[in-house]
Structures are given as C-alpha cells and as structure tokens.
Subunit: 337 residues, 4 copies
Amino acid sequence: MIKIGIIGAGRIGRVHGEGVTYGVKDAQVKAIADPFMNEEIKQWANGLGIASCYTDYHQILEDPEIDAVMICSSTDTHADISIEAIKAGKHVFCEKPISQDLAKIKEVMEALKETKLKFQVGFNRRFDHNFKAVRNAVEAGQVGDVHLIRVTARDPQAPPIEYVRVSGGMFLDMTIHDFDMVCFLSGCKVKEVYAAGAALVNPDIAKEGDIDTAVITMKMENGAIAVIDNSRQAVYGYDQRAEVFGSKGQVAVANDTGSSAVLSTQDGVIGEKPLYFFLERYMDSFKREVSEFVQAIVDDTEVPVDIEAGLQPILIAIAAKKSLDENRPIQLTEVQF
Amino acid sequence: MIKIGIIGAGRIGRVHGEGVTYGVKDAQVKAIADPFMNEEIKQWANGLGIASCYTDYHQILEDPEIDAVMICSSTDTHADISIEAIKAGKHVFCEKPISQDLAKIKEVMEALKETKLKFQVGFNRRFDHNFKAVRNAVEAGQVGDVHLIRVTARDPQAPPIEYVRVSGGMFLDMTIHDFDMVCFLSGCKVKEVYAAGAALVNPDIAKEGDIDTAVITMKMENGAIAVIDNSRQAVYGYDQRAEVFGSKGQVAVANDTGSSAVLSTQDGVIGEKPLYFFLERYMDSFKREVSEFVQAIVDDTEVPVDIEAGLQPILIAIAAKKSLDENRPIQLTEVQF
Amino acid sequence: MIKIGIIGAGRIGRVHGEGVTYGVKDAQVKAIADPFMNEEIKQWANGLGIASCYTDYHQILEDPEIDAVMICSSTDTHADISIEAIKAGKHVFCEKPISQDLAKIKEVMEALKETKLKFQVGFNRRFDHNFKAVRNAVEAGQVGDVHLIRVTARDPQAPPIEYVRVSGGMFLDMTIHDFDMVCFLSGCKVKEVYAAGAALVNPDIAKEGDIDTAVITMKMENGAIAVIDNSRQAVYGYDQRAEVFGSKGQVAVANDTGSSAVLSTQDGVIGEKPLYFFLERYMDSFKREVSEFVQAIVDDTEVPVDIEAGLQPILIAIAAKKSLDENRPIQLTEVQF
Amino acid sequence: MIKIGIIGAGRIGRVHGEGVTYGVKDAQVKAIADPFMNEEIKQWANGLGIASCYTDYHQILEDPEIDAVMICSSTDTHADISIEAIKAGKHVFCEKPISQDLAKIKEVMEALKETKLKFQVGFNRRFDHNFKAVRNAVEAGQVGDVHLIRVTARDPQAPPIEYVRVSGGMFLDMTIHDFDMVCFLSGCKVKEVYAAGAALVNPDIAKEGDIDTAVITMKMENGAIAVIDNSRQAVYGYDQRAEVFGSKGQVAVANDTGSSAVLSTQDGVIGEKPLYFFLERYMDSFKREVSEFVQAIVDDTEVPVDIEAGLQPILIAIAAKKSLDENRPIQLTEVQF
C-alpha cells in the first residue's frame, strides 16, 4: 500500500484525494497540506479517511511513512516543492506545468539525477479513453505514416481576468494540454511553431496582453504538420476533439456527452451538449494517471509521463508565445534550455 | 427509345412524368391522359415536351407508337386499366397497390399469362439507396442467417379524414410499403401476422374504423421474426428506418436529411429533421424504378418487382386487418386467393 | 453510515461489494455470506475492508449492527431470505426477480406490511444514464402523449444450456429487464401481451422448451403500444437501445462504446462495437441503484423500485410465456395473482 | 429558354452538358466546341439533343442565337476566351480559376466594364447542400460573431505527376476551392496567410516543387482566424468538411455517403466511406450553380459568384504560395493586383 501526501487542497488537490480513495488500488492518502487549511477541508478529508491535515507541507515531507507526494499547489511553487520532495526521498506526481521558468525545470531535473525516484507530470489527457484510443490506433499503424494532426480544444467559459493575469498566458495555461496531445498522439516531437491569436471573446483579455482564440500550426520532426484550434469560450460546452490522418487513413474522436439521448421534435434532432468542463470530461483520466503512477512505484517501472515529456509542451508554449509576438514561425531550437 | 403513356396526371403521375423526362435514359413520355385534363396540366406537359394530352386514356392505349403505360390513376381503376393495357399489347408499370380486391388481381394475372409483356408494380422503396444497401448487405451474407427484421415508418402528418375514408385502411394504404420492405429486405415470405393498432393521433380516424398507430409482427417462412411500427404523424418528419439482424451481425439505415449540418449552441447539438415526406425522401427511387422498368423492356429481361411480388404485401395487409379485427395471429393461408 | 450485509458472493454479489465500497457514500459492507465461502472470496473481501465472511447468511441477519441486506443469492432463494430478513428487521435490496413463483412474492408482500422497512428490487437499468435520459424526456413532456415504445435488447452470447435449463425461460431471465424498461420509460402499466419467439441461435435451446429470439408486443393501459425485440446472441456485442415516440416527438438512445474513436480506412468508416455485456455497460447503474437505496434508508423516503414495481415485469413475463405457448394475445388479468 | 454554348468537351464540359440538359430549367445546350472533337463526343452530344458540335469555339461565339457560353477549356485559355465571349456579347460562365495570371484577370474585368453581361465563376461548392447550410446558419446569426473557420479538404488520390506539373501548384489547383469556402462561409475577406506544406504522399511531387499536404492559416479582416488542412490522398475517400465557430456556437458539416447503412459485426460498427470524389460528391452543385446563372440572366439579377468573388481565392492562393516559399505570414496586400 503506497501512502500518499497531497500538497495543496484546492480543486485539483481534492479531485486527486477523491480519485485515490475511490479509484486507485494499492494507494491511500495519508495526509493533505494547505496553507489555508480550514474546517471545511478537514471535514472533507475526514470523510475520505485521510489521517492528517497540515498547514505546512513540510510535515508531509518529514513523514517517513509517506512514499509519494502529489504537488497540487500553485504553479509557481511546483518546482521548488518538487526539489524539496526529491531531497526528502519522496516519489513525486507534479501537476502541470512543472514551471513556467525553464531554469527551474532544469533544477528539478538536476535534483532527480542519480536518484531512483519516480517523477510524473500531470498530463491527464493521455489517460482519457478517447485520446488513448487515437494513440492506440496510431501506434498500431492503423493510420500508417502520420501526415496531419488536428486538435480542437475549447473551454466552455473564459476564466476571470484575475486568473488570466497570473496564468502565464493561454498557451502555457490552456494550450499546454494540446501541445502535449500533439506529441502524444503522433509519437513525435515538434520542430517549428507558428501561432495566430486574437482576443475575440473578451477584449479585457487583450488588455492583459493575452488572447482567447488561436490557431497554432506545428511542423513535426518527422515531417507531419499539426494544428490546434483554441477558444476560451464555446457556449455549447467543453469541445475536445482530435484526429490523426496518415497514409493509411484517419482516426478521430468526438466529444463525450452525459447520455446518447437524441430528441426529435418539430425543432430538429437534438443531442446533448458535450460534458461541461474538465472535471466532468476527464474525471476518469485523473484516477487512471495516478493509478499508473502508483503502479510504476510498486513495480519499479517507468512512469508514463516523465519530466522530459512534461518539458516538451512548455517549450512549445514558449515558442508559440514568441511566434505570436513576432508574427513568424519559431524553431523550437530558438527556445533556450 | 421506349415511348411511354402516363394514365393519371395527379401527384404521382406528374412525379413520373418529370422523372422519365429528366432521369430515365432510353425513354420519353409521349402522352398523358386524365379525365380532369386542364390548362395547367397541359402547360406542365408542354414544358416537359410531352406531345399529347388526352381526357380519355383509351387514346393512349390505341396509339401504336406507345410501348408502355404507367398507371397512376385512382387505386380502384388500376386492375381494369391494367387488363385493357395488356390486351392493347402495352407493357405496364402499375402504381401500388394493384387492387384491394384479390379477384381483380387474379384477372390481371390471367390476362398477363401467355403474353410476353412486362408488368411492374410501383414499390419504389426497393430502389431507394438506403434500403438497397440493406438488401445488398443481406444478400451478400454480411448479416448471416436473418433472425429479426425491423421497419419503422411514420408519416409526418395524418391524411385528411376524406382520404382515410377511401384509403382502404392504414395497412393497405401506408403499411403496404413496409410489408413489401419486410419481404424485400429479408428475401423471404410472410407466414403469419399479428397486428396491434390504435387511433392515438386523431380520434376521428377511429370513427372511420381505421387506426393511425400500429405494431405488426410477422413470422417469416424461414423462421425469422419481423416487426413494423407505424404512425400516421411524426411531428419531426418522415421517419423511415430499417434494420436486419442475423447470425453474423446487423445492418441498419437511418433517415436522410437535407444536409449534414449540426448546430451546437447553448440549447444543444442540433441536426436537421428527416426529409419531410415521400416526395422529398424517395424522389430518386421513383426515377430508378422506371429506369429499371424501361431497361427490362429494352433488354427483354425480368422486371424487378413483378405481379407476384406486388401481390404479397396486399395479402399481408389483408391478414393484418383481419388480425386487428379478431385480435389474434392470422396465418397467411387464411387469406383466400 | 449504513452497514450492509451481502448474501451471495457470486458475480453480482461482488459487483455490489465493490460498488458500495468504491461508489456509495454513507454506506459500507460489513459482512458477506456464501455457502461456498472460500479463501479467494475472503481475500477479495479483505481487500475491500469487509470485516466478516460467513458461510451461513443467518449470521448476517443476527448481527444487530447491520442495517440492510443485499440478496444476491440464487433466484429460488430470494423470496425466503427476503422474508427472514424482514423478520430480522433489516432493510432489503433484493436482486431481480423477487421470485418466479407468484405465491412467494405475495408472502414477501405480506411480511413487509405493517413494517417500515425499505424493500428495493434490483432493476438497475432504471439508473442507467441513457435510460434515465429517456425517462426524463418523457416525464418532462418532451415527447407529448406516449404512442409507441421500442426496446431492443440483445445479449452478445447465449448462456450455456445448463443455465438456460434453470433460468425460468428467456422472458423471466432476460426480457424481464425490458419489461421493466417498457413500464419505466412510459410510466404506464401493461394490459395485454403477444409474444412471437423462436430458437434461431441455438437449436439446443428449443430442446429445453425455450427460445433465443423474440418480438413481444404490449398494449399499455393508456392505449400506447410497446414492442421489444430480443436475441440471445448479437455477435457485435451487447445491443441495448430504446425509443419512446409520442404526439410531440421521439427520444431515442443508442449503445455506449469504450471510446468515440472512428477509424476511416480503405475498408470503411469504423466505430467501436457496443460495450461487451452488462458488467461493462451497466456498472455505474449498479452503484447508483444502491446509492439511492441507501439514501432512502437515511432519509426515510420511498425506494425508487419498490416491490410493486418489481412484481410487474414478472407478471408480464408470465403472460408472455403463456402467449408464446398458446399463440394468442394474453390479458394481464389472465395471470392469477 | 436560354441557349448555351459549351467550350471544352472534357470532363467538366460534359458534366455541365448533362447538368443543363437534365437539371436546369429554362436552358438548353445548343452547341459544344472542342479542338479535339471526335465521334465519341458527337454521339454523347447527340444523345443529349445538342444540335451542333464544333472544333472551333469561334463558331459558338458567332452564333447569334446563343445567349451564354460556359468556358470549360484548359485553365490557360479561360481569360482570353472570356474576353472574346464578352466582346461577342455573350454572358459567361467561366470555370475556376479565371486565370493564374492576375494581369489577365484585370483584362477580363476591363472587358466586362460598361457591359451588362453576366459573368459567373465556377465555384460550385457554394451551391452544395452542406456548405450552403453552414453559410445559412452563419448568415442567420446562429453562430454569432465568427471566431474560427475550419475547412478540411482531402482528395482520395493524388493526380498524376504530368497533371501536377501544369496545375499551377496545389494551392491554385485544389486549395483554391477551400480559400473560396473560407470567404463564403464566413462572409469575410482574408487579410493575411501563413502556409505550412510538405510532400508526404508522393516524393515526386516535391521534385516538381509542389506539395501534397498542407495547413494554411488565415487572419480574416474581421479578426477571425481560418484554417484549412489539405491532403492529396485520403485513402478512405474524398474528405470534405467544414465548421464555423463563433460567439453563439458552432455549425459543422460532415461527409456525404452513398447510403446511411451501418453494418455491425464482430469487426466493428462500419459505415460507408465518403462519396468517392468531386463528381460523386458535388454533382448536384454543378447543376445548381448553372441554374442560378441562368436565372440571373433571365431575371437580370446579380450572379451569385461574380468576378470579384472569383478573384479572391486566386489572390489568397498566390499569397499562400509566397508564404510557403518564404516561410512567413504574407499580407494579402503584398500580392500586387
């Protein structure tokens, strides 16, 4: 039984708390820490049978019974806590992105070297049933050589301006998952990026120097071309689709809905909207990514999303931002690491 | 070039007039006859290049240049005109049903004997792209031995009571096409029929001794079971679906729409309603059935829907009516022919 | 926290054991009993934190800490154990069917009278996301007055002959769920039944006096007509569909698949087969039915599927069998209760 | 009755010949001209009732009875013949593209000035049922302000190298239709283009300096972003899809198939491939574009695709080629006209 400490009791910290308790075999959450620990969190933790609630995450790192930590704190703390956890001998599951600062990621990589600790990055979509099915088809050669990769990702609602301000920009905050999907689905790295973007949903987003609508084209190392289209606001719900096209055919996935019910009336033939947002859409994937992390610890095998894999989308996001700023295609080699 | 005379210039007569002119190679309409011939019909005929417009259809039968007649007059005249046409040496395309009176059908069969004339019945759905695809799959063995046949047929709007009164009842008027589909799709004859029916759409239909909603179960000679569900009024449009299920799988067809456009909004994911009614849905099949009729004349081959095939759905309809009246399953052998 | 004892550690007993542990709030499994209790079951129970494993279910009934029992033993024992449990003051969740013997069901009803105990029958499909969506649309009036109800239910594989022999026949074993769906989806009771059936999948099933293929037509008390089609073997997987058609439109649900992936190749446009069988398809519904049972105990409200609701499908199944035997429609009043 | 002369009896010339004869009211083809006129073409023309077959198209221009010409000759002759036809006082339907040489297009525009002649360019997809439905939804405001436009266009088979050599490159030959769709669907002009392309299907195409796979991003004048993805070879057939996404939702169209038949077997749930190529997919649109052209002549109204509309996709194609060559986004203003 792997004992886990969760650092950060915000939305994603709680998702993982419930996921581990109800959906992950061979693991249990022993403690949770949050600087804003309160009665409500304690009750929630108690309901899940979590033994300890701390204000200071160091208490988790100091607990010799805890095998692994899940870092669910704010993005700017991910790298430093990762390093501390590694030094404390804990396996680390770190929410994405590792950091917006490439130097910090280097430090984490440095700290990991020579240890035998597992380090997994929280790119949960790799564990989603739909995207997994696309990957499986590509890997099995069912589409042949990959020529085109298309990812559509649109949120149901733009975040508040306060969030936009600290998010690191749409590419690092939202598109980062899609950059990961492009790599994961194709099994290939990105060589060059061109980004077209605009603030069409909310002009206040432009005032913060950010965008809410984008099309990003990527040339892959194997010659294929990938394209992502993003919007911060699809009024019909969370639009999450992908297709991979190649010499032998194409595989595509559509949105998930709450049921397959179709109502036919005088007004038309009406199906359900996509599942609302990432909590509805990706809940199972959150459990599966932790299951595989735990299994990698138990079996001492490689984690499915290592720090190298976690780094790629950040490099692409930085290149995309540079492309947007300079309105030209950017080689990934132009991003210093 | 096969020269055709059309008898009856009502809706279906005109459909065939336009179909032959614009969609059938090796054929042209030379004359059209209707007891209520008027200026409007003449103008329509002129626009299509039809040379002669008659009040009396005998003028068509007497024209030695005319090779074939299409009988599109009222149902009660089909059999008698068929016999006259056969005697005049014309090939006959007769709209369905041949007659509601089995004795009359026998007379037509008698008249046909010893002639080499072609006689085709207007079961147009056999020529529809969707139903043809089902038939092809069944014939190719893709579903294996047939176990279940399902046909859904729902009209967008109930006919006026005046029409219901002279229609011969829903089974002979509307379900007759579905009885034909059951035979066509499965390649098998019906042995026994059980019909459950009700007037749920319009209580006035019940006053005429008719129904507007039905489920009809048929045991087929090969052991398979078929089921049809009917309604005189589907507010979302003409609902025309079928499936055949067997030992190796199933083949199913859905409704056709005007376009594949899907609109996603806050209200849902909205597709188009089915094409409105039989003119929209089956226009191509009207052309194809006549094309094959003409081809059978040109090549002197068998017509695709001969008088035997045209008889079966009438027998089943009569059995279904008897089942409804007596609330018991009826053997097809109970229907005297 | 409601403490549950599970009686019967076969497939469905274990499904509920895991369901309660991982998916039901406010409940835990305290004990499980099975006459063939063994090490393997004990290990499984231990992994779930189930405190006690018994050979004799009376130990569960005698435990004053246990609030409710889930009866997952063989069908012929359901009624007797139900009565014992009621006498022991336990709430009862009884797997379907309560009994194949109507007199026994009467005894259970008798035992329940004057108690305030909850008694729920395991018709899990009512808790399935798809069927719930159909029911919700009907209840909300979105299809208007109900005219037609269609249920398709086809298993991926026929059961072994040994199972067929003791199953009580296809109607009581398999179609019983569909009879429940007809009632649930329409919100209406059945008045008359006509069943057409055959053994087309496996001739050995006919030797046991049973069938594997059927179409069952039902006249509902409100005038609507329902139809079920069944097969014991759909080679493409578990086919579970339904539609309700009425004066304002139709609502229909399709099969669920493991993913929405569609592969387009030279061979066609290929989607996934339906989820394989009831464990894959209905797992969530098993959790939800127990959640609602537990909630009804906690809140002292009515259970969602009471013994009256559990009785109806059995009456219909018996009528359907009689219809098959006598080849005539059977009034439900002909079934003595 | 508008009398039409067709110049060029190749594939598209014949498509129009049959389309006008069988599908366009108020019009007839009076003559057809082709430098390689032969017996086979004459027989075909005779079958359609076309009175004259010429080797020299000037005979068409000189016939005072001919109201309009359809220019279906090789691309490099479109502009010159257009000018001659205009001078001869004929209305012109010119196949796309008008010319690959912008100076020539200017000459045609010049010739048209001061005349009242109709000049329509053959962008047939605007008349396709699916794309029309998208346009209608956008025009009706159903998607709100347009933010993203996506067009997928993939041919089933790459053309022979000999064709590639004289095609003007993929953008002018194939993508030109998609550039037109971007403008048509959004109702907006293109401001800037970035093209990423590669020869992944056939390396010989690269040797000719051309590509077979591309993603083209366009910034629209209203701020929206459009993206096209192309391939010269989709082994599953002609892939023709589009979506427009905006502030109120999205409208999308899928591929058309020969039937809606879906076969479910042990191997999967298998639908038909898209209609094979443009002749199968767009046949109706060829008739409709000519119908509207004829109607514009009859009613003296504006043609639906005028020379200005025909010019835009050429400008975008030239910009896209420049973008590909220089690997940078190109302003449309950089293309001299």
